[in-house]
């Protein structure tokens, strides 16, 4: 007997409210595609462009905990702020961030990354210098590539020394679209 959408939603809300979930996630529609957005009790922990969110769900279950459930409410605030960002009504995100999916060095780099302002770009080398590892530009590139929370942690604002866009986990089209949105490129 198929359950009604209301009953399904009621359970998903109750599960999120119970505090028993390791991770709650939902899909969020944006002008650059549907995003997978996930949060723990500590904050936003994952944004993914992966067209097969199943893989991300499995991965979170392995790394954070098996109690992963789709539930809209815990990501509503992120959804709201992303909508404002894409409408050019927001230049900074005010969200709790949970960086448990990043290793130590990555965290240091991602902390620095979070300080790169809206509408500006920096380079891999410059970010390495700010993270006190001036010769680790290549490692910084890897950290950007594995950024667990793109857009909110703005790895799209990091470009090559020559100014070329270089690469992006979500594809160069998206990197370009985000920089264009922010007015960093014309």
């Amino acid at each position: 007997m198929k359950i009604s959408p209301e009953l399904d939603r009621r359970f998903r809300d109750a599960a999120a409210e119970s505090g028993l979930l390791d991770v709650a996630y939902d899909m969020v529609d944006t002008p650059i595609g549907s995003l997978f957005v996930a949060a723990t009790d500590a904050g936003l922990c994952r944004i993914s462009y992966d067209p097969e969110p199943e893989r991300v769900v499995e991965n979170l279950a392995r790394t954070v905990g098996a109690r992963v459930l789709r539930s809209a409410r815990p990501v509503d605030e992120t959804r709201r702020q992303l909508a404002e960002y894409f409408e050019r009504q927001r230049t900074e995100f005010e969200l709790d961030i949970d960086l448990r999916l990043a290793a130590d060095f990555s965290r240091r780099v991602l902390d620095e990354l979070a300080r790169v302002p809206y509408g500006e770009v920096t380079t891999y080398g410059e970010l390495a210098r700010r993270a006190k590892r001036p010769r680790a530009a290549r490692a910084v590139g890897t950290v950007m590539n594995r950024n667990p929370i793109p857009i909110v942690l703005p790895c799209h604002r990091v470009v090559g020394a020559s100014g070329s866009l270089t690469g992006y986990g979500g594809g160069l089209d998206r990197k370009e679209a985000l920089l264009r949105l922010e007015g960093a490129i014309l």
Binding site: M1, K2, I3, L7, D8, R10, F11, A14, A15, S18, L20, L21, V57, E58, L60, A61, G65, A66, R67, V68, L69, R70
Partner: protein, 158 residues
């Protein structure tokens, strides 16, 4: 290649796979309106116990025993609403049979355990147990009787 140990699936997959069957089961036992609350309670209890699971095998049997327990609690709660004060001694003695049985049956193989508990603890018909376990009524009957034989042997040795 060695057969992989059944890993515990993300709760989302577990929930999506069993929610309709559990709701059907509860609706048959309790009627639709009561089944909605019982449904939520069943999966919240499952969520609470989920991190203590050691493997991902027999999750269907596992969640059905939880649902059967919730349905029994609903049934028991109804008459006790009318029981007056001073009935505490009675209440203590009336620890339900399924609690004893679940404990006794703990060491049985999972399918036998579920069949024994659902049949003798919750008084479900074999057709329903078969449906719950994803097998036939006959298979459920066999699992229950071999579980009972195993329990008798164990008691005999003890």
């Amino acid at each position: 290649m060695m057969e992989a140990v059944a890993t515990i699936p993300p709760f989302e997959h577990f929930y999506a796979e069993h929610r309709d069957a559990i709701f059907g089961f509860l609706a048959r036992r309790l009627g639709r309106p009561a089944a909605e609350d019982a449904f939520q309670e069943t999966f919240l209890r499952a969520l609470r116990a989920y991190e203590r699971l050691e493997h991902g095998r027999h999750l269907r049997a596992w969640v059905f025993t939880i649902a059967a327990r919730v349905a029994s609690d609903v049934h028991r709660a109804k008459p006790s609403d009318k029981v007056s004060l001073g009935s505490e001694a009675v209440a203590e003695d009336s620890r339900p049979a399924y609690l004893e049985l679940e404990h006794l049956a703990d060491e049985l193989p999972p399918a036998e355990r579920a069949a024994v508990v659902l049949r003798y603890g919750y008084d479900l018909p074999y057709s329903e147990i078969g449906a719950a376990l994803g097998s036939s009524a006959d298979a459920a009957r066999q699992a229950a009787s071999s579980g009972i034989r195993r329990l008798r042997r164990k008691e005999g040795l003890a």
